[in-house]
Symmetry: D2
Subunit: 143 residues, 4 copies
């Protein structure tokens, strides 16, 4: 967040600077590989520990990488924002060793609400999941 | 999956037996604390490594515990099933040390599709998130 | 909307008073049958003209009655609000002559966002659809 | 539905042929303007009777035109299919006289489940709503 209100706050730079130290990113080994205003790309490698009781990659991991690109993209335009809603469709499964890429494009970033579109693909470009989400700017009302 | 087709397959017992060795459950420290036909309760403790760049608990963690209860409840009635869609609303944030409980109730478990309802609460009973999801029985067509 | 800011604005009374003259309600023959703070019940009778090319009741009609209860319930607490997102699951079909009832309960009505839960049942009490939705207060920022 | 199983059933032709007599399309004045395998375009003009108590176009009308394109596109590939789930985000309001266009692209049409993406725009090309939905083939299991 801006420490000096007279300076123009650059959310993209701020987010990139802090990305390396982000606890959840380290824990799940998610890497922010691209970030610009309203767009983010995050990658994750499917690990053996991400498998569930059916021998499939846990849906929560697919959601996590999608959510991470969603968080970065929406915060790049409206900082800070919090997710209010998230909807995802799983198209294809993922296997151990797969490299998944989540790309988020913000469709709308208004004063009161943001709406984003996210696609998760594997290393062959196959679509693993499609998602959309709603964000709410969390400090706008207290300025 | 049933090895002897002449026996009645008991998905609840099967799922409970294997829950302890589930990779993602161990990795995220999620505990299956209750399971009956069409109902599952899963708990998770919010760890410092689940925090994101905004100092909030990562939405993907809330989704993970919700998804885990969803997976167990829907598989208890139709085994094996895979999630096709999941929608979640975040009502309140969660903090490090919080004990979150996800409860899933299956609303419909048909031959072609299942629909479930999930609520995530914290240790004070406050609603953290509400979700619904769609599952597809994955072997029915190949019998 | 309140004409005299010093008076307490009673959204429930305001909404009830104007419900009869609502264009879409007349057009689709939807009746607001109950309204209190955070709760609304709306009914619709399935007409022959609501059928689609498959001889099924058009999903858009199920969504309409659900959306109408959602609109009244959320506006009863935060007036005026606009829907930002809506997710629905169709559990059972509806037939011509069925009397459908949509009930909406607001789960959260905050300064920045509202979240609601909607159930559509038929005259036998069978669940036709379950929905959830997000609303955004539309004038709060301009006070 | 195919009357002679030895003939190849052409869902697109079947759907186009019957579109004119569809009850809900006539009632809401929705026009199917384009249909090919996995894609449909439907238009609707916003009428005064589609307004709600807030003086806004009823969300259920936006959902209806989106749902109609969704139904045609998904049935063009898997006939007959029924919608199981639908999620929509409202980006901008619509006004009386606006010509809305809903375009649906099927993302996946499998034996057990279909997933589609829908965009609603106005006559200026502005995005009014974005939606996604799940369909279930309704006769596949009974062949």
């Amino acid at each position: 967040m801006p420490e000096e209100p007279n300076e123009i706050f650059d959310a993209v730079t701020e987010l990139k600077t802090n990305a390396d130290g982000e606890p959840i990113a380290s824990f799940l080994k998610m890497r922010l590989v691209e970030l610009s205003e309203g767009y983010a790309k995050v990658m994750i490698k499917v690990m053996p520990e991400y498998q569930n009781f059916n021998g499939l990659t846990f849906g929560g991991i697919i959601m996590a990488v999608a959510d991470q690109s969603f968080a970065y993209a929406s915060n790049s335009l409206s900082y800070p924002s919090a997710a209010s809603q998230f909807n995802i469709h799983f198209l294809t499964g993922a296997s151990v060793g797969d490299e998944l890429t989540a790309e988020c494009q913000v469709l709308k970033s208004g004063r009161r609400v943001g709406i984003s579109d996210i696609t998760v693909t594997n290393q062959k470009g196959k679509i693993i999941a499609k998602a959309t989400g709603t964000t709410i700017p969390i400090t706008k009302l207290t300025y």
